[in-house]
Symmetry: C2
Subunit: 438 residues, 2 copies
């Protein structure tokens, strides 16, 4: 065992980078006790060395040339916390080709370039770790590769975007509408100035792609994921949902069916008594159903400087323990041996079988409901409940229909027909239901 420290070169000193720097400093003794040797930040690459920072970093550590990080023979671990996908990709490849272990929190990098990145890690037999890319401080990737390794994952449900969960929780608690709540979330720093990436479901889709890749040992083409955000959610739907015993959550879902792997991100009604319904605010949770273990869930803070940095430092410790033992790549990034993995066969969304919440806006006159019911029936969709709050003859009223399990493409076709009825004045709202979630 070498007595000197393990040297880390860090790229990026934003929110997460600052958290990592602070944890390594505050917990240097604790970590040395847990690893057997200290971790040392040897160099930090930043865009501007002279930028004012709250964090005090000795200027001797700072550089604005990333090459200085991955070319430094003393540095054994390159930690990328910069965010930009193309630059990160280039750095990852350069670093690993030089035999550096690579740690990142960059979910877009992994979602878009995992094949190339994992191949390079394998070819150079270096560790590639990215626990912080999904679920912030929640050690879900590690759990999928190790703790749940004895399982075929039958389904996976994730609340993996804190911004969306915060907005939906606030809307549910206060009955406020989406845009007002988004503005409030932005004011509190829980949502970005440009919120599309979060509320549009894209961030959740990146994370889902990574989860699926590890759960099934496959590569995932982002294009094959179905993605729907939360901006169309109406307080009315939250209220109606509760009437039927459901809460609305933005879920990243994957299930194994005979037709392939489901891969979808969309607002979902989950039973109010389920564990996922209890996940409030900016928290994240990933629930799995494994054929050996049954249902399991990991819950925690999905974002923020310290929680994310906690996961990053966990990765650094893993790599450091491996360096001390003289090994690398003992647990492959996708949980299966060898970098050559199959492309995931994703079930086409039209073939999905699900229960549905449908909200029609109809002129309340005789025959409208009969027409709706008759179209649904013609498409093989059977109704489990109907709810109509207030009846006011001749005025527009919401009619809510819950269906039994039906095929997505039939439901969409039926809605298209229903939307053309003379009594229907607005586009029908569709929300998928996961009624069996515990």
């Amino acid at each position: 065992m070498k007595s000197k420290a393990i040297k880390i070169g860090m790229i990026g000193l934003g929110t997460v980078g600052t958290g990592v720097y602070e944890i390594l400093k505050e917990h240097s003794q604790l970590l040395a006790k847990r690893i057997g040797i200290p971790l040392e930040i040897a160099k930090v690459a930043v865009r501007s060395k002279n930028k004012k920072r709250v964090l005090k970093v000795p200027s001797s550590l700072l550089t604005n040339r990333v090459e200085e990080i991955y070319s430094d023979p003393e540095i054994q671990i390159v930690l990328e916390l910069m965010g930009n996908v193309q630059e990160s990709r280039r750095i990852a490849l350069q670093a690993m080709k030089r035999g550096k272990h690579f740690v990142t929190a960059n979910k877009a990098l992994l979602a878009l370039h995992s094949r190339e990145i994992f191949q390079t890690a394998h070819d150079n037999q270096v560790d590639i770790c990215f626990e912080a890319a999904v679920g912030g401080g929640i050690p879900i990737l590690r759990a999928l590769r190790e703790g749940f390794v004895a399982n075929r994952i039958q389904s996976l449900f994730g609340i993996v975007n804190g911004t969306c969960n915060y907005i939906l929780t606030e809307m549910a608690d206060h009955g406020a509408d989406f845009s007002a709540t988004l503005k409030q979330a932005q004011a509190l720093g829980y949502a970005e100035a440009n919120p599309k990436f979060d509320v549009g479901g894209i961030d959740a889709a990146h994370k889902l792609a990574i989860l699926i890749a590890i759960a099934y040992g496959v590569s995932v083409d982002l294009k094959n994921l179905y993605v729907e955000g939360i901006s169309d959610i109406d307080p009315l739907d939250i209220e109606f949902g509760r009437h039927f015993g459901y809460e609305i959550k933005l879920l990243a879902i994957s299930k194994q069916s005979e037709r392939g792997i489901q891969a979808r991100v969309h607002p979902t009604m989950v039973p109010s008594a389920s564990m996922l319904a209890a996940v409030r605010g900016v928290h994240n949770a990933i629930q799995i159903d494994g054929d050996s273990v049954g249902e399991g869930m990991l819950y925690g803070k999905g974002a923020g400087s310290r929680p994310t940095a906690s996961a990053v430092v966990g990765d650094l410790v893993e790599v450091a323990r491996n360096i001390l033992a003289g090994v690398a790549y003992t647990v492959p990034p996708l949980g299966v041996v060898g970098p050559k993995v199959k492309e995931a066969k994703i079930e086409p969304m039209g073939l999905l079988r699900s229960a549905y919440y449908l909200r029609f806006y109809a002129i309340d006159r005789p025959g409208v409901l009969a027409n709706i019911a008759s179209i649904l029936s013609r498409f093989g969709i059977s109704i489990s409940s109907i709810y109509q709050q207030v009846r006011e003859e001749g005025r527009e009223v919401p009619i809510v229909v819950l269906t039994h399990e039906a095929q997505e493409k039939s439901v969409l076709a039926a809605i298209q027909k229903i939307n053309k009825l003379s009594g229907i004045k607005r586009k029908t709202k569709l929300i998928r239901i996961e009624a069996k979630l515990k």
Copy 2:
């Protein structure tokens, strides 16, 4: 990489052993893909070779001499699933001294003999794994040693006994009393014929000792743990608790204070909106508060053949991956380097500061409540709420008092005084409250 299989010698073929055998058989290909080499059960030691078993095991694999397992030079991993503490201890030491890696699900073994076991693993540089000993299929030990390694654990709350959680959930749902619910749990196989070990809190205490050892990198003397079971819980207390917004759970609790580490198992009132309150039936959950990650929780099935076997096989895979990489003991069992750890300094229970639920049974006549309040006040205990459901002059009625944070020994002394008042006819019920749990 060797192409032949990694050979496992298994001791015990009860509930968990059967689950392990089945998983290794059903998932042999999947596991080989995930490890890079097959796992093979080479021998199984059982008490009686001729016992009728549902599980079909080739008789050539069976032996009733455990020495055949740990003396076999082909066997690299000894898996102990027998249960008996003294025999397990002997086998563990014998196996590790012969260079075998040792996997077990035996929580009592670890709670009672960890010092000796870990020292032997260290001296022989073999892996010692026991994920299944706490929380069944929940990968909590791994999470504490690896995923949350960047954290000082500030507090830890566990629902770690499924029998107790099942009974409390049933009592809450149906208002039934403890003994009737226990009988029902026994009939359903959720409780043992001799339930003391579970409902008395001893099983939870064993698990808490292991959790504390790993969370803080210490050794724990079971004698120092405060243990109180659930047999005194009355449906009335569950009802009153709900009135104040609390559910009652049997929690294993550890917190760091200036006076040491708290280590206690007892019925606890937790906020109804907290994640732990949502853990129902036989499920387990462990919630931690880490100084970096904030609060996190792992949830799942805490017992049963397959869930427990899922954790055991996870351990087998970890050891197998290490064997292939030519390493062992890379992550030390207590998460800190070296086998020499300090004995945990446990805070004496009398010094605990907590909020309390106190239920008095008093004759409803003028002055009784004033007497109670005056005694509490004399002991420095301040009241946050009082609840008295029905007033019937001259008859015995329950009076519920919730206190602000107070010192345990003052509360006990005050109760002793109150129990002697002429208007008090029964022993006062005390339940600790964790009001800040999220």
